[in-house]
């Protein structure tokens, strides 16, 4: 089987998974009464007054399978309901917060991946030396620390104690400035790009400064996994015959490690990217909450606590967020599988 037919098969397999993901969220919605569920269909504040009409309009007293189809239709047309806590439709609120989270994730991923690979390789090459012990220690600490506690400690030391870095996304003055459309155009919503585009590189610098602590937090938590797998696959690669061969033919140790061992050791690490994606999505909820960094995760965590909503929560917002991250995660896994098949021909030939 060639790469193309593998790709087609793998992409087709995503469809039942996505249907399953929507079914699960729909099943969770069934915990609520028709009146509570009605708020999932409202897209403006006026709508909250005539719930009976909404219940009738969206067939909330109909059989379950019909309700699922109506709900799916609404979701596919971009209607995820009304977010009580942010006073706007759920989809709009998520799209608004998305670039903020993207900025944090885009900065963190290279640090985590490149740093993890480097440390894992160093650990394997110098097995049982000081650097190996130090790296393994770092990995097991990162594995054990609660994200939120690490974040709080960093804030206490670097904000409370040293006043080097502040929480939030920008300082108050800059925050007001970038949110004023007459002064500042948000092309992408990512401050490190928008700042220079508006002729204000200082905004980008300020954003970067606010990103330091959240990035460190996400990195320490997520890097452990990559270090561990990279170390063990590198150890395995180094014991292979082709490495002895490469050394025997007189290559320098650097070439042996970088060109022969590391490239082959990278393959198992790629499968981790899916897990890494999940870890990042879980991690941003906590990290953003700790650092008051107002992205998607912060928004969702606050929505879960919104007083006055159903059972004290902004249910449409939380469920919309879960659906969104579920879909994002399915797509991330698809990309990982395709990359893997592209790099390792054995996968697609199975």
């Amino acid at each position: 089987m060639g790469l193309r037919s593998y790709l087609i098969r793998r992409i087709l397999l995503v469809i039942p998974t996505l249907i399953g993901v929507t079914l699960l969220i729909f099943a969770v919605i069934q915990f609520f009464s028709p009146i509570d569920r009605a708020s999932l269909f409202i897209t403006d504040i006026k709508g909250t007054s005539d719930l009976d009409a909404i219940i009738a309009k969206y067939h909330l007293n109909d059989p379950v399978y019909l309700q699922y189809l109506y709900w799916l239709q609404a979701v596919l047309s971009g209607n995820l309901g009304w977010s009580y806590s942010s006073n706007m439709p759920v989809l709009k609120a998520m799209l608004k917060a998305f670039p903020t989270t993207a900025e944090l994730v885009l900065i963190s991923i290279p640090v985590i991946v490149l740093g993890g690979i480097k440390l894992g390789v160093a650990s394997a090459v110098h097995r049982d030396k000081l650097i190996d012990h130090a790296t393994r220690f770092l990995a097991i600490i990162g594995w054990s620390l609660p994200t939120f506690w690490l974040g709080l400690i960093l804030l206490a030391v670097f904000f409370g104690g040293l006043h080097w870095f502040a929480p939030g996304r920008l300082g108050t003055t800059s925050e007001d400035f970038v949110n004023n459309p007459t002064l500042f155009t948000q092309f992408t919503g990512i401050m490190m790009i928008d700042g220079p585009l508006n002729g204000r590189p200082d905004i980008a610098l300020e954003a970067l400064q606010h990103l330091v602590l959240p990035t460190i937090t996400l990195t320490i938590i997520s890097i452990a996994m990559i270090i561990r797998v990279m170390r063990s696959s590198m150890l395995e690669a180094l014991s292979k015959g082709y490495i002895t061969m490469a050394r025997a033919k007189g290559l320098t140790e650097k070439e042996v490690i970088n060109k022969h061992a590391q490239r082959n050791a990278l393959i198992p690490t790629i499968t981790l990217s899916g897990l890494l994606a999940a870890g990042m999505l879980n991690g941003v909820v906590i990290t953003e909450t700790v650092f008051q960094y107002k992205g998607l995760g912060y928004w969702a965590a606050k929505a879960a606590l919104a007083a006055g909503g159903t059972g004290g929560s902004d249910v449409p917002a939380v469920l919309g967020f879960a659906l969104f991250t579920g879909i994002l995660f399915v797509i991330a896994n698809l990309i990982v599988d395709i990359t893997y098949a592209y790099i390792d021909p054995r996968i697609r030939l199975e």
């Binding site: 399953g20 969770v28 709080l152 909820v285 906590i286 879960a304 059972g311 967020f321 879960a322 579920g326």
Partner: protein, 303 residues
């Protein structure tokens, strides 16, 4: 009776031998000894909690308050670790929080394991439509980032510690189920299983007496060592404010109380002490987990 006991003993001999071997490998590693020591320390705290911090109200898990003031107070004779926001006593909270942590971990792992062994056995042994349906169902749950799905479930089921436990079980069982199923599939075609079937053993007997004893121990051990990770997830949900109720002795909740006081290092004890408890507890489990992972991996173990 004596006959049956001897039979049972000789039947268990390979298992006991195997466990002895694993044990000897585990105790060779100084880090796993440290892990054991840490956990023994926490077990001691959990057992002695009523003596170390005598309950002052009807519910021992509710932390007593010094006064109704918001501001934390420092370390004093009456409050050996000081108090946190709302004047909740930190010493009392971390001691009883140890019990909360064990309760969360044991409940969630136990319930997930029972579900996953039941479903994994049926799925792996009978195969067919049931298997296909069950595996697609696990696919769906595994298609979500775990903590976010747990958060959504807690919000849907109503906040509280019990719903956090339920949500973590709902999110946790699919992973174990797939491992159990894979093990059953591996053992199912062994000769001794065929032999048991040939002499007319019932399906239940084949599964319980022949398949499970030869496949289940590594899974049970690995799952138990996940207690650390589970406590971490539960603490994260409590930190977000959707887990433990107000005043409850739970480490995650206690850290969330300290959130507003971190800017002043005068209040260092409010966030440092409960954090050290969680981190050490999880570290203990992870150190053990690391050691067992190496021992249980057949490609690494005999070297």
């Amino acid at each position: 009776m004596g006959q049956r006991l001897r039979e049972f003993k000789s039947g268990m001999e390979p298992t006991i031998h195997e466990l002895r071997f694993m044990w000897s490998r585990v105790v060779e590693n100084p880090l796993s000894i440290l892990g054991f020591a840490i956990l023994a320390f926490f077990v001691l705290i959990a057992v002695l909690a009523p003596m170390m911090a005598p309950p002052q109200g009807p519910d021992p898990y509710i932390i007593p308050r010094g006064s109704q003031f918001d501001e934390p107070s420092g370390i004093s004779a009456t409050h050996p670790f000081g108090t946190t926001e709302g004047q909740y006593d930190i010493y009392y909270g971390v001691i009883w929080g140890t019990r909360t942590a064990f309760r969360i971990g044991i409940w969630v792992v136990g319930a997930s394991l029972i579900i996953s062994i039941a479903i994994g056995c049926i799925s792996g042994y009978y195969g067919g439509v049931i298997d296909e349906l069950m595996m697609r169902f696990t696919d769906i749950i595994l298609a979500f980032p775990g903590l976010i799905l747990a958060m959504a479930l807690v919000v849907a089921l109503g906040r509280g510690l019990d719903t956090v436990l339920l949500a973590l079980v709902l999110v946790g069982w699919p992973g174990y189920t797939r491992v159990v199923r894979a093990e059953i599939l591996r053992v199912k075609s062994e000769d001794y299983v065929e032999a048991a079937k040939a002499v007319g053993c019932s399906d239940l007997r084949v599964i319980v007496r022949h398949i499970l004893p030869n496949s289940i121990y590594p899974i049970v051990i690995m799952a138990s060592l996940d207690i650390g990770a589970i406590v971490l997830s539960a603490a994260a949900l409590s930190f977000l404010g959707i887990g433990a109720p107000e005043g409850y002795a739970d480490w995650g909740y206690m850290i969330s109380l300290s959130q507003t006081w971190i800017t002043n290092l005068k209040y260092w004890h409010t966030f440092t002490i409960p954090g050290i408890f969680i981190a050490t507890f999880v570290l203990g489990w992870n150190l053990l987990g690391d050691a067992f992972r190496d021992v249980l991996d057949p490609t690494l173990r005999r070297r």
